[in-house]
């Protein structure tokens, strides 16, 4: 009986991981046999990126229970920290170790910024927390936009004004060029790496949720006062969840940055539009339901691209899908219907019949 319980949560984790593996194998085969259009091929890495973002935001919104509207900010930190490293090390390191180090740097930088921002922000509750995270997300994006970094024979030069005030020598090269961002990032990521990272993200988040720390985090979400009364350190676990969530968003940022040769922080990619979009995946997929939020991210990223041919009707269909998904996942009637016709129950009945 006791064994079954651990086994049950493990089973659900395996199913989720299995979905990723199967999806990867199918897409990879299709890509290699040339069935996929170049449009879809180009979408494979972003799909994983957004899926990672959705899963990591679900850790904050669904498991920790705090509404964060600045998640793209952490993605931005991870993207820029890692791209900066990769551009610096472009000549001196081979692609493999370079990307691995860039990945570590991106994750750590984002997790650290999550930790630092979390200290003041997590003291707030509800709407206030949402607004402040929104502000921090914008601050990060805008800070990156005025940052100029160059390198010459004397070392690194920093400025927050313009390229000229870097005061570099003749051999100098601008690495981060303000609003134009970083150019010439090596394209080190590919679909396989992206799928592996999504896989890792799921392992981290799902195993965290089904462990002692995850229980503490969810206890805080359900009732802070009661959690305190049984000796759970509130600040510690809130910061832990927020930092891990930020770190994983940073990982998505690394993936994003190394899939493009030019990286610039715009409202579209790291602004609050993105944060809201990721939040939409999480809310529609199911707050606290890691697996479905991942699937929602994939569907909702893929859909607008696949509907391009329909032109004017594109957003119409997109919004209908949003509404249908919302109803399917959340309306009580739909839930009832799903229970009634669920695959599990169908299989269960079949098994019972066979036994009889």
């Amino acid at each position: 009986m006791k064994k079954e319980r651990i086994a049950k949560s493990t089973k659900s984790t395996w199913i989720t991981l299995g979905i990723v593996v199967v999806a990867y194998v199918i897409m990879q085969t299709l890509a290699e046999t040339g069935v996929l259009s170049s449009l879809v091929k180009g979408l494979l890495v972003p799909l994983c990126t957004y899926a990672i973002m959705a899963v990591s935001l679900n850790l904050t919104v669904g498991i920790l229970g705090e509404l964060s509207l600045g998640h793209a900010g952490f993605m931005c930190v991870g993207a820029f920290a890692s791209a900066f490293f990769s551009v610096c090390m472009k000549e001196s390191l081979p692609a493999g170790p370079r990307f691995f180090l860039a990945l570590l740097i991106g994750i750590l930088a984002a997790a650290l910024s999550g930790f630092l921002i979390g200290i003041p922000v997590l003291r707030l509750k509800g709407d206030y927390l949402a607004i402040v995270t929104l502000a921090f997300g914008e601050i990060i994006k805008n800070l990156v936009n005025v940052l100029y970094v160059g390198r010459d024979e004397n070392g690194f030069h920093f400025s927050i004004k313009d390229v000229l005030s870097l005061g570099m020598g003749k051999e100098g090269k601008v690495l981060i060029n303000g609003a134009q961002g970083i150019t010439g990032t090596p394209k080190d990521s590919n679909f396989t790496i992206a799928a592996i990272l999504l896989f890792l993200t799921l392992i981290i988040v799902l195993n965290l949720v089904n462990s002692r720390s995850g229980r503490a985090i969810m206890a805080i979400r359900d009732n802070r006062i009661a959690a305190e009364s049984i000796g759970i350190n509130i600040t510690r676990y809130k910061l832990l969840a927020f930092s891990i969530s930020a770190g994983l968003a940073g990982m998505a940022g690394v993936l994003y940055a190394h899939n493009l040769s030019t990286l610039a922080a715009q409202p579209k990619n790291f602004g609050y539009n993105m944060s809201i979009m990721i939040l939409v995946y999480v809310v529609l997929g199911g707050i606290g339901n890691i697996r479905v939020s991942m699937i929602a991210a994939v569907i909702l990223t893929l859909l607008p691209e696949l509907l391009r041919e329909l032109q004017d009707y594109r957003m119409l269909i997109y919004s209908i899908v949003l509404i249908v998904m919302m109803l399917f996942n959340w309306s009580p009637k739909a839930k009832e219907w799903r229970e009634k016709y669920s695959l599990k129950r169908f299989l269960g009945k079949k098994a019972a019949k066979e036994e009889a």
Partner: protein, 252 residues
């Protein structure tokens, strides 16, 4: 020396003196009652003892250790666990997980061990499951172990809260109106459970209650609060026959 010694405890909210020079001594293994009319400051005393409010003055000693003004988390680790007047369960967790959350501090393994599923994770989780199921069995909740806490009927939710508090392995258990909203049958059952908990876990229990049947049935000693001050203190029967107490409850 008494397990819990409270001297001259008081708190003011602005101009309101909610609790004033509150004193109590509870011996180990005692079943102690805290009663008083509505608004007398009983729950405020609990909140002071568990660190939800910081006392304006006074001193609280648990088992020889000064815990005055400590944080809730620290006080729980020092050995005080409580239940709440308005039930506070982890609603989206299962019954078993609620109790396992209570076992949090006594069965540690690190976050990394949890994420990487190292051997200690399985070992400690198994211990936790065993311990939690044992506790649930005491409260006759083991059959509902996999239910969501919010799906339990009211009486069982109250029991689960006690089980969760006990999981933190406290020296002193504070019960805030455990019989609130229960019918006479459930109350009788609860009285047996409280006595059983005291005997089985050698627990010291301080409880707030309005149900006089329960109070006179199980409490050995009582303290009566009125307008934030101690009105009477002593053996249950003596206190309940005290004319001042009767006056406070029934009026002149």
């Amino acid at each position: 020396m008494a397990l819990l010694e409270v001297k001259n405890l008081g708190i003011s909210f602005g101009g309101l003196r909610a609790v004033d020079s509150f004193e109590i001594n509870i011996e180990k293994g005692q079943l102690y009652g805290l009663i008083g009319p509505n608004g007398a400051g009983k729950t405020t005393v609990f909140n002071l003892l568990t660190g939800v409010y910081k006392p304006s003055d006074g001193k609280v000693t648990l088992d020889g250790k000064n815990i005055t003004g400590a944080r809730t988390t620290q006080i729980n680790q020092a050995g005080i666990a409580r239940t709440f007047q308005n039930i506070r369960l982890f609603k989206e967790l299962t019954v078993l997980e609620n109790v396992k959350a209570g076992l949090h501090n006594n069965h540690p393994y690190s976050t990394v061990e949890g994420i990487l599923r190292l051997p200690r994770f399985f070992k400690v989780e198994k211990e936790m499951d065993q311990k939690a199921l044992e506790l649930l069995k005491v409260f006759d909740l083991d059959k509902e172990a996999d239910y969501l806490a919010s799906n339990l009927p009211y009486g069982k939710q109250r029991k689960l809260e006690i089980a969760r508090a006990l999981a933190t392995d406290p020296k002193l258990l504070l019960l805030d109106e455990p019989a609130a909203g229960m019918n006479p049958n459930e109350t009788r059952e609860l009285m047996d459970t409280i006595r059983f908990v005291r005997d089985k876990f050698e627990m010291t229990i301080l409880l707030i209650e309005h149900d006089m049947k329960l109070v006179s049935g199980i409490c050995e000693e009582l303290t009566v609060l009125n307008f934030g001050q101690v009105l009477a203190q002593g053996k249950t029967q003596d206190v309940l026959n005290d004319p001042q107490v009767i006056k406070a409850y029934l009026g002149e």
